[in-house]
Symmetry: C2
Subunit: 357 residues, 2 copies
């Protein structure tokens, strides 16, 4: 196994951009796509970061992803809009959608966008700071109409995609950034455990016999395969089931594009993006006071383990981002091998600043 | 123990209304309050139904709840508003707030209200059908600034109130209605188990030693007492912790009224109410098609137990409501004893149609 490497952020971004341009993307699109992928790595969401560059290159080369154009506005009202991305890269469309939601929030108090048929958006955490940096709240829900991975509560068969929920909140220091699946764990974590021949740390899956299991092989093996359990698991999964229903209705039903319409859309995502302006409800300053006070109460809560004080979601991500911008983006040996092969196929010279860790 | 009873809905509503008028509420306010309480019972949320009448009577009699007036608009923008209820009954203010959110949604696509300082709102499920009956989506989050019951992930001490999340979605048949706490279980369930000297069905609590427990006595006994675990429990509670943060920020931070400002507000609630109009995003008809298709996929999922097919949240509530409107509202013997005492103190003759079950 190759060692992990570090590569200077700007150089890696520029290299990824060249790969995407060579694969067919417009220069501006390539730049935004590279930034969206690396924003995930900077915050520590490596399963959905630069690791997904080869997939995006492939989608552009094969024409599955559109390399040019803008989303179509299907419908809109003062505080909402519905876009059809018609297979444009989600990495490119998401920042535009957040920007449009911000504009509406600044006028109406909230701005809500539903965007269908984006190529895979990767890490939702990557899109939160665009709003929090302007003092705005944001929440994002994403689903995948062609995927079924998560069982409803009380069932063994797969209905929902492993939908993530993300939340960004401005504070007086680092923003609160949350990005999590509404199932017991994300499908990517099951894949990771399977690849490393490890068991999952929890019974995240339900077998065809209706029993909980932590064996990822049951999920990928021969039929009948296991399904991901909704958050709450075998006992309390009616809560995660409710959240999965919410996430698919807010995305697929609001965009009128569900599991029938999107059955052959592969990894295409539908997103629900909502931005809220604290100034529309009250005072931004008081908003920060109340938020800071709440987070301080969490930090001061008695920890179960004295050496592990309560953490605020996003704090570690902010530290990791600062560190990686200074020292270079950290990439696993396996991912770096795949990126090198991707660059070679496109005949793009590798970045210069690669150092082994 | 007295047997359960049934009382005709209209008669029980009228009796509750008389109690509230005698306690000091305006006629219109009393009527809306009685309807809000009974809406919880009709849907099966009995811990937050007519059982809470004596509490509401007490709050009116003592002057803790304001018996007249309307909420003050603190601030508003096209699609949002912030109200201060100044201790008006939440049972009275909530339907007005949902109505205002509906009006904004019909103009702007979404309508979002934050309402602070309402006396306890009881069951959130009671307020959902007002929106779903008009083909609109609704979600509600509520917190209680003066209460701390739920531990942050990794902690043993209490920070958050046991905040509920509710969701209402129109379908072609009964609306999808969800009303759940963002902790492993609701505080009311812990109280219920304690009163019946039973253990909880799950380890919903964390002791001061950092261990999970299902013993409700640990929650009410002498210090150091246990705390409610966030949804996900000891292993995956960072997800529920994130949802608790969301719920307190959307309510307390947006209303600029947090745990410092509301420290002595007892059971007063702050609510975040959001209504969305599917017609603003696309076609209401297509919205229903996609929603119906998703719910049908859930119903058809392979059940763990053949005799227990997958349920849609709200289906059982709709059946229960129809049954109780026909046969009378079902009330436990214990609750009926308390209601009788409440009526006697106010010198209101009991309903005629009481039948034992």
């Amino acid at each position: 196994m190759q060692n992990n490497v570090r590569i200077q952020y700007q150089e890696l971004r520029s290299w990824a951009e060249k790969c995407l341009v060579t694969a067919g993307a417009e220069t501006k699109m390539a730049r935004v796509m590279a930034e969206s992928l690396l924003a995930g790595d900077l915050l520590g969401f490596r399963t959905h970061g630069i690791r997904r560059l080869p997939y995006n290159v492939k989608q552009l080369v094969t024409g599955n992803a559109k390399a040019t154009g803008t989303p179509t506005v299907v419908k809109s009202r003062a505080a909402v809009a519905h876009w059809d991305a018609e297979h444009l890269p989600g990495l490119y469309v998401m920042p535009q959608a957040v920007s449009a939601a911000i504009d509406m929030a600044q006028t109406c108090g909230t701005g809500t966008l539903v965007v269908r048929r984006m190529e895979h958006v990767a890490s939702l955490a990557a899109y939160l700071e665009q709003a929090t940096a302007q003092g705005l709240l944001i929440n994002i829900v994403v689903s995948t109409p062609a995927q079924a991975s998560v069982a409803p509560f009380g069932a063994t068969s797969r209905v929902f995609s492993p939908n993530p929920y993300a939340l960004g909140v401005p504070t007086s220091s680092a923003p609160l950034l949350l990005d999590m699946s509404l199932s017991v764990t994300a499908a990517g974590k099951v894949r990771q455990a399977y690849d490393h021949e490890e068991l999952l740390p929890w019974e995240a899956l339900v077998t065809a016999q209706g029993e909980g299991t932590n064996d990822p092989a049951s999920y990928f093996g021969e039929a009948p395969r296991s399904a991901l359990l909704p958050l709450g698991g075998l006992d309390l999964g009616y809560k995660g089931y409710g959240l999965c229903l919410m996430s698919e209705i807010w995305t697929m039903a609001l965009s009128n594009y569900g599991r029938v319409q999107g059955a052959s859309d592969g990894e295409c995502n539908t997103a629900f993006i909502q931005v809220m302006d604290p100034e529309a409800f009250g005072s931004s300053e008081q908003f920060l006071h109340v938020t800071d006070d709440l987070l301080q109460r969490c930090r001061e809560a008695t920890p179960i383990d004295d050496s592990a004080p309560v953490r605020i979601p996003g704090e570690r991500a902010a530290a990791l981002k600062a560190e990686q911008l200074a020292l270079g983006v950290s990439i696993s040996g396996l991912t770096w091998q795949k990126l090198q092969r991707c660059g070679e196929r496109l005949k793009i010279a590798p970045p210069q600043s690669v150092t082994e860790e």
